[in-house]
Subunit: 396 residues, 2 copies
Amino acid sequence: MKNKLNEEMLRLGKERSAIRELFEYGRQRAKEIGAENVFDFSLGNPSVPAPVSVTKEAERLLREVPAEQLHGYTSAAGAPEVRAAVAEYIGKTFSVPQKAEHIYMTCGAAASLTVLLGALCTPGDEIVVIAPYFPEYRVFIERAGGKVREVPAAEDFHLDLGALEEAIGAQTKAVLYNSPNNPTGAVYGEEELRGLARLLERKSRERGTPVYLIADEPYRELSYGAPVPYAMNLYDHAIVCYSFSKSLSLAGERIGYLAVSPRCADADALFAAVCGAGRALGYVCAPALFQRVIAANLGKASDVSVYRANRDLLCEEMRACGFSYVAPEGAFYLFVKSPEPDAKAFCERAKGHELLLVPSDSFGIGGYVRVSYCVPRQTIERALPAFAALAREYGL
Amino acid sequence: MKNKLNEEMLRLGKERSAIRELFEYGRQRAKEIGAENVFDFSLGNPSVPAPVSVTKEAERLLREVPAEQLHGYTSAAGAPEVRAAVAEYIGKTFSVPQKAEHIYMTCGAAASLTVLLGALCTPGDEIVVIAPYFPEYRVFIERAGGKVREVPAAEDFHLDLGALEEAIGAQTKAVLYNSPNNPTGAVYGEEELRGLARLLERKSRERGTPVYLIADEPYRELSYGAPVPYAMNLYDHAIVCYSFSKSLSLAGERIGYLAVSPRCADADALFAAVCGAGRALGYVCAPALFQRVIAANLGKASDVSVYRANRDLLCEEMRACGFSYVAPEGAFYLFVKSPEPDAKAFCERAKGHELLLVPSDSFGIGGYVRVSYCVPRQTIERALPAFAALAREYGL
């Protein structure tokens, strides 16, 4: 018997994300030829373990808190003491008078975004994203009823304020940015973000409603020197979507939060809409144990120096091979120029060397590949001959 | 500056669910007069601790599995070994040839439902629900683009096949049922479910596309004697939405699954659409630690005898007070007839005695209140004088 499903969801499910697809391919290939012979640079799955304090706190909670309290529902927005701790941490770290009642604990950054977009979007609304961008942005925005407005980054993958000026209009609900950036590793500086803030202030004033600024910050702690300005200090109508996936290496535990700036227009109403969207999407509460675990680990981070060392090794060797790229300032991705215009064809060739790289097409621009270097150092070391052979194939 | 949010999400966020609202009120009231003086019967938050084996397994995993493996992303549909364990458990327990590739691990029953409804619904589709029903069904169905078609239950809160026959037509995408039932405690028997299956088979055949049967089963293990038939054994086009929230007292950890029957039409396509909807709603994967915890605890359950004892005590005392109800066969709710037609007014009066009860209006029928008896026995014992006083107010 034939059936009529939601065609859009079917399409999304069949194509999967290009990244997830490669991840599954890598798992399969590892079974065939051994994990040590597959060089999987596809996924942003942290390779550094969670800090010991994370494990210790989980163990302590399991030992000391009665199970029916520990594992029961929390309030939909999160356990009150967890929200208070997060608000206090933000206040202390960024000098923002963050209110606990504007913290919404989420099942990770993806949930932070889907819930926020659900709260904000009405049909016709545009969300401005800076290309290249995390491909799921499009999926999340469109499901929320919004439209994606791609604005290309400048050549160095930083903000192009002129292009943003042109793109933002009456239909713009928000600008969504991600810094440190996936896939380019760019970290937006204070000056360019202040420029963006001034632009958004002017546009908001002109039309009489705020253009929101959404800071998607799962890589905040993964900057190798460049300061990462806090959006709320630059612009009133800012919402921060945070995740502990990368900072505490808890990607699979789905824990993060959404913080609405105390200076945001209609902050209480916006927060109520966030609660409504969370409810409608089936997010009853963020996982209870890990809410408490992160509350005791705010400001801590996995050993980020490992990623820095990976970056340095990979950059050096890729340069030696003849590949070109813009040196990443943060996150754990190297965005490499494809030696042929078709990045997908390049990635297929790379597969022949057991190198799993993500073509940039799904990030909204062609001609690049993303190399995730959140992998064991040996993976990079063992992959170097494969990268060299690949470069030779292209006569680099 | 005034803003334009998604009005529907704002409305949902402002009203909250009546249940969640009471839960928050109860927390507040507990601060004011002491938790022991508030008799909160509002929420289905398990009062019995998780089995010791749950805690032990969580501790073992934290101790023995390297953190970067334990807490990393799993595949979107779940860790392969977890999906295999769930499929094997279903196969063994219900004699269904469940395929692991049709198991999708979720962040609990709410996520199972929002993801499934997202996969199924196209505009105009109706989802049949049996009133009274869990109020979030409406929120989930409408957000997925579907329409709610309420079909009243029979007087004993079991299925009314005649009414279902009338309601199911070309526009029906699925029938969604919940047994053991929230809020009535009814457990649908094999005969009535076979009748429903025959009806759905005929309707499916007539129109040439399947009417899906969605079994929402968070209370499966909470039946006090009545067998709980397995939907897949009665009907081909069945999907089971399961949660470990109640069976293992893990409500806050958000862990459950969705199982598509191997005999379901287009099962692979349906599963792909489920993956697509999961992706679009931001469900990257179910929480990694608890995926593994439940895999080692399939078939185990918290001490359900506590709920049975609570039920017996509460039923006896409520009867003695003069209240009337249909004796619950499962779950942990007592559905009590309001002594005045307006259940909300009755609940307000109950609040005066510090009794927090949920009016039935949000469940799709008037004139009843839901009393959740998943509370410490002392709460029931201490509340008895309050129930008695309330009954006297109504001259019962």
